[in-house]
């Protein structure tokens, strides 16, 4: 009969294995392209996302679209080619959790004016991950106003 100590040791090894595996970190990219301007103050974009499941990759694609508008700009639309947040580091010195909370609490969802189904454009085995494309419409005008109220974006003027 195998001793309890053996089973306990095996359990520890298994737990250590799963905890020590490095998490996949997907680097920020600029894979957000302009599609259309369906209404004043609203922009339709297609964004690429990555994740270990299709659902996670879809969320990543949506968040990347917002991150590109906020921090990098969308070169294919001249109205947003400059990032909305001029200096993220300066803002985070005063409000360190403003942006992390914005994404962690899914607050960005209220600026989504429309979205289409996600399409899987790639699947990778090691590590297991998916590459997806997602089209969505973002109310960038209200997004700007939201961050103006938070002091992250300077209101127009001096």
């Amino acid at each position: 009969m195998i001793s309890i100590k053996y089973w306990f040791g095996l359990l520890c090894v298994i737990l250590l294995f799963f905890n020590c595996r490095s998490k996949i970190v997907y680097q920020d990219n600029a894979e957000t392209i302009f599609n259309d301007k369906p209404a004043p103050g609203v922009v339709s974009v297609t964004s690429v996302g990555y994740g270990s499941t299709v659902e996670l990759a879809e969320t990543d694609a949506i968040q990347r679209a917002f991150k590109n508008i906020l921090f990098q700009g969308v070169p294919s639309y001249t109205g947003l080619k400059d990032p909305m947040i001029y200096d993220r580091t300066e803002v985070e010195k005063i409000k360190p959790t403003l942006f992390s909370d914005f994404f962690a609490t899914n607050e960005y969802e209220r600026f989504i004016a429309g979205q289409s189904d996600v399409s899987v454009t790639g699947q990778y085995k090691r590590p297991r991950s998916f590459r997806v494309k997602k089209s969505l419409s973002i109310n960038y005008e209200q997004l700007r106003k939201h961050f103006e109220r938070n002091g992250a974006v300077k209101k127009f003027g001096y």
């Binding site: 301007k37 070169p75 294919s76 639309y77 001249t78 109205g79 300077k154 127009f156």
Partner: protein
Amino acid sequence: MRIFLVLLIGSACCLFPNLNLLAQAEREVVQMQPMIMVIPFAKEGENIRTVLEDDIVRRVVVTKVQEGFDTRGFTTVDFLAKLKAAELDGIITSNDQSDIKSQLAEYSGADIYTEVEAYYEESPDGKNAVRIILKGFDAFTGQALGSKTGSSPKFITADFSKLAEKALERREGNVQVDMIEEFLNVMQSNFIEINEIGRAIKVMFVLDQNAEYDFDAETADGSILEYKIEDWIDENAYLNNYSPAKTIGPRILFDQVRIPLREEGRNYTPNKFGRELRRAFSNVKLTEFPDAKLNLAVEVRGGTLYVTFK
């Protein structure tokens, strides 16, 4: 009874603890904003008074630009309303278009102009286009604050107002061009720069026609008046940022002197700068007139300071 009074006063203190603090609390200072006016460009032979009435394209573009400012929460000065008011008040005294603009600039109080130019591009095959130029500049220093230009694609149409809308928002290859958003973003980046390095004003020093001295006059401390002026500007321009002096006849002109938007948490205006200048020179004496102090008249017109030595 006494206990009741004590309890009543005690409750009042608990319910309204911060009355004193509220009264003393420092109110947040609201940054003074520039006044912006959207104006049509008047070509040679055109009358700026009637150009909007005569040209639907410029009317459409002026309105679209004003809408753009409104969307950013910024109210502009209405050009037509100000022009009519200026005419009613007898301010417009000339037919020269550049004079009308200057007179309107002073009267309206606008600090910044956004000028709209629109050109029709008609071709013999019926394919027409509209070219639009947007320019923002400081009304007094002429400092450019942003410019954008663009043409619509060519269409067989005589609806030039539609072509103007196509010029403002159009596709160029893989890029969607939005002229007004881009223009406003450029202006905003210039405003951010102004916040950092100060606002530019023009300072002109002139001698009164009855003045018995000139700018080469020696001062009591052994300096020359002209040098004292330059030294004062050098010391008081925000971040030591100013353009070199230009001597034009009996005048000394500084095209751009930077002043801060705020000082000690409060709005700082060209008027305050003028007051400091006047205070500084009121104690200056000339060797030729040891008993007399300099008499200065300082006038602020928009973004220009006129300093007259009497």
